[in-house]
């Protein structure tokens, strides 16, 4: 006879519960209110099975890692930057997002680190919504000129009438050469902001590549030429099909981070555009 949490259970039940514990440890997602690209919470991702007859939901680490990084210390340096032995600072790389414009050619004009993943390993990120910050420069009361430092207001954005939607992603396997740890790492593609997101994410004018069902299927399940890959990654989800509301600046500590919150004096978004 065995015990689980102090309760006497049969051996078969004990085995069932222990197996379930293992599964829960592996699939501990889809219930986190806010997944930040800078936290360690894995992301729910759809990937095709081997013959592309179906797909499965897996976990991936958000922030694509190039295979040449040897261990987690190298990963840390890659992501956050570091000062070398000569005192020279090396800037870190932010690889949570991959600009659609640079999937194949980098901003410097060379081969992009995302190219292989864009051609070979495309996936869909499951999302219920995302967060962006709108920058609003108040006016100096004396001069009437915009202040240099903007006030920032967080928004929650999702797709109307859909519990979940798809973002285009690409992924790269990575192995820690010291520990043998193996993870799949992910970047979400981004495109130019549509008329809604241009107002919300007005500092960068970018948005994630959100795909309707047809494009999502093409992205993940079909062979695509480079031009088509980039075309889909560059596509803008219609602004009219999206919803945005302000939320409290403390949203990351809230039980429901998506609860609407009104800011007095914040100009409303122009939804007629």
């Amino acid at each position: 006879m065995c015990y689980y949490n102090g309760q006497k259970v049969t051996r078969a039940e004990f085995i069932r519960l222990k197996d379930l514990e293992k599964e829960i440890r592996r699939y501990d997602f889809l219930d986190k209110g806010v997944i930040s690209g800078f936290s360690d919470i894995p992301v729910a991702v759809l990937v095709p099975n081997e013959d592309r007859s179906n797909f499965e939901i897996v976990q991936m680490e958000w922030g694509m890692l190039p295979p040449y990084l040897q261990n987690r210390e190298a990963v840390q340096k890659f992501r956050t930057g570091y000062k070398d032995a000569q005192g020279k600072w090396h800037t870190g790389y932010t690889t949570q997002n991959a600009k659609a414009e640079n999937l194949f050619i980098s901003e410097r004009g060379g081969a992009s680190m995302f190219a292989d993943a864009a051609r070979q390993r495309r996936c869909l990120v499951l999302s219920t919504g995302f967060f962006e910050w709108r920058h609003v420069n108040r006016l100096n009361k004396k001069t009437g000129q915009p202040l240099k430092v903007a006030d920032k207001f967080p928004y929650y954005i999702n797709v109307k009438n859909q519990d979940y939607f798809y973002m285009a992603g690409i992924w790269q396997p990575w192995t820690d050469k010291e520990t043998g740890e193996h993870v799949n790492t992910l970047a979400i593609t981004t495109t130019s902001a549509n008329s809604l997101m241009a107002q919300v994410h007005n500092s960068k004018l970018r948005m994630p590549t959100i795909l309707n069902d047809e494009l999502a299927w093409q992205w993940m399940m079909t062979d695509l030429a480079d031009e088509k890959i980039q075309e889909i990654a560059l596509s803008q989800f219609p602004a009219n099909d999206m919803f945005a509301c302000t939320i409290t600046k403390e949203f990351q500590a809230m039980l429901d981070p998506t609860e609407p919150y009104e800011y007095a004096d914040l100009p409303a978004l122009d939804l007629t555009l």
């Binding site: 379930l20 599964e23 889809l30 219930d31 939901i57 039980l255």
Partner: protein, 83 residues
């Protein structure tokens, strides 16, 4: 594979709001509870003891008291919100 097709619901325990989501791992039904305070999320399942009686339990082990307090509230919610 985890499939979660339902929205979270809220229950109240000792004046505090808990947010609960239902998940399936294969055919196993599990509940995930998020707290207002800084407590770690709690995973609950219904198990069967050696007397063939069902009981709520935390997964992993170690939070049985919470499981026994919260589980029945979840059951009550479902009983009173069935369509």
């Amino acid at each position: 594979m985890v499939i979660d097709g339902k929205k979270p619901f809220r229950i109240e325990l000792e004046g505090k709001i808990l947010e609960v989501t239902e998940h399936y791992i294969g055919e196993e039904r599990i509940f995930r509870v998020l707290f207002e305070d800084k407590r770690k999320p709690l995973t609950l399942v219904v198990a069967m003891n050696s007397q063939h009686k069902k009981f709520w339990t935390s997964m992993p082990q170690g939070r049985q008291e919470e499981a026994e307090n919260i589980g029945p509230l979840i059951a009550w919610y479902y009983k009173n919100n069935q369509k």
